[in-house]
């Protein structure tokens, strides 16, 4: 009984809802941390393909010159959370933090992330205290490493 309860608690992956303002508040409190925010969805094939690169980055984040925090921001619909998103995360055993964006007016919030973003995903937002860059593209593990390394070089501490 107790074992099954503990098991259920361990297996119950819950993905919290956040607003864009919540995400931005994290940046403000991050001091020296560089955030790598990946916008994705379970229904987006190229997004799913590149997720291992972000998971790898989260696992190897200690090898960079500054603290790195990887956050996967899912754009899945609220109605898909328990049926698609959470089972997906469970099955994959993702090691990075996953949240679901609870914003309903994409024509308003996309520009708040970056006016150059056309709205296609995957898109990755690298954010330091002084610099924010939105990459509307797919990444391989190597490309993500190279892009982040370049970002760190151009972003003063």
């Amino acid at each position: 009984m107790i074992v099954s309860f503990v098991l259920a608690a361990l297996l119950a992956t819950s993905v919290p809802d956040v607003t864009l303002a919540d995400v931005e508040r994290r940046f403000a409190h991050g001091s020296d941390t560089v955030f790598v925010v990946n916008f994705w969805a379970t229904w987006c094939r190229p997004c799913v393909t590149e997720l291992p690169a972000f998971d790898h980055l989260a696992r190897t984040s200690g090898s960079y010159s500054r603290p790195i925090k990887v956050v996967l921001v899912s754009l899945d619909a609220a109605s898909d959370r328990s049926t698609k998103l959470e089972p997906f995360i469970r099955k994959r055993g993702m090691s990075c933090e996953v949240v679901r964006l609870n914003e309903s007016k994409p024509h308003l919030w996309i520009d708040r992330v970056d006016p150059t973003w056309q709205g296609s995903i995957p898109a990755t937002w690298i954010v330091s205290r002084d610099q924010r860059v939105l990459y509307e593209r797919e990444f391989t593990q190597q490309e993500l490493h190279d892009t982040l390394t370049q970002f760190l070089k151009s972003s003063p501490r």
Partner: protein, 211 residues
């Protein structure tokens, strides 16, 4: 005779478009059109084998050009709404032209034969064209599916009057509160400009040819 000239012209246009791909391979480079620009002319193969372009619609006041595809869940979510737009506005002079810009090697679900099947299954009442060379998507600057361009007929061609999303809620049509394309077309039908001429939306990337 007219038909034959028309067909020759269409073949010539297709040949031109095909040549165009050789110089426009980089999908990130072209900016595409902006609101107020002239709309690039084109002809593409429809699912029924005919060749269709803006000029096919000689009586139209304008066009609702929708870059969409079979596989993208966001396109699928909007299919019924695209059908509804055509049913409402074709009779008023603004038919829908749907264009699938995806490469069928990168995205096999978006092949010509799968387009034919999808159109038959959903009884698409509008033309569903295959942008096999991806030149039309590049010239317009389509960046995702679905991505809508509302065109208005002018004396010499067409102008782009609206670029963006269909409405403000992809997940649930019933929860949408702003109907950008319908509002834009209604404004143009009244002889005014759309109040909101560009909007953004989340969508699938266009599956550009590799290499």
């Amino acid at each position: 005779m007219i038909t034959r000239i028309g067909r020759l012209f269409a073949v010539a246009m297709l040949a031109l478009l095909t040549c165009g791909t050789m110089v426009a391979q980089n999908p990130m480079a072209p900016e595409g059109v902006k609101v107020g620009d002239n709309a690039p002319d084109f002809v593409l193969k429809n699912i029924d084998g005919t060749v269709v372009g803006p000029r096919t619609y000689s009586a139209a006041k304008g066009l609702i050009l929708v870059f969409t595809c079979n596989h993208c869940p966001y396109s699928v979510k909007y299919e019924d709404r695209i059908i509804a737009l055509h049913k409402e506005f074709a009779a008023k002079g603004f038919p829908v032209i749907a264009v699938n810009p995806n490469d069928s090697i990168v995205s096999p679900e978006d092949s010509y034969s799968k387009m034919q099947k999808r159109a038959a299954d959903k009884a698409f009442p509008f033309a569903y064209l295959y942008d096999e060379t991806q030149v039309v998507a590049q010239r317009y600057g389509a960046r995702r599916t679905p991505h809508v361009f509302v065109l208005l007929r002018t004396r010499i061609g067409w102008t782009v009057e609206y670029i963006g999303a269909i409405d403000d809620n992809a997940d649930n049509a019933a929860d949408a509160t702003q109907f950008f394309v319908a509002d834009a077309v209604n404004a143009l039908l009244k002889g005014t400009k759309p109040a909101q001429a560009t909007t953004k939306a989340i969508g699938c990337t266009i599956k550009w040819k590799k290499g």
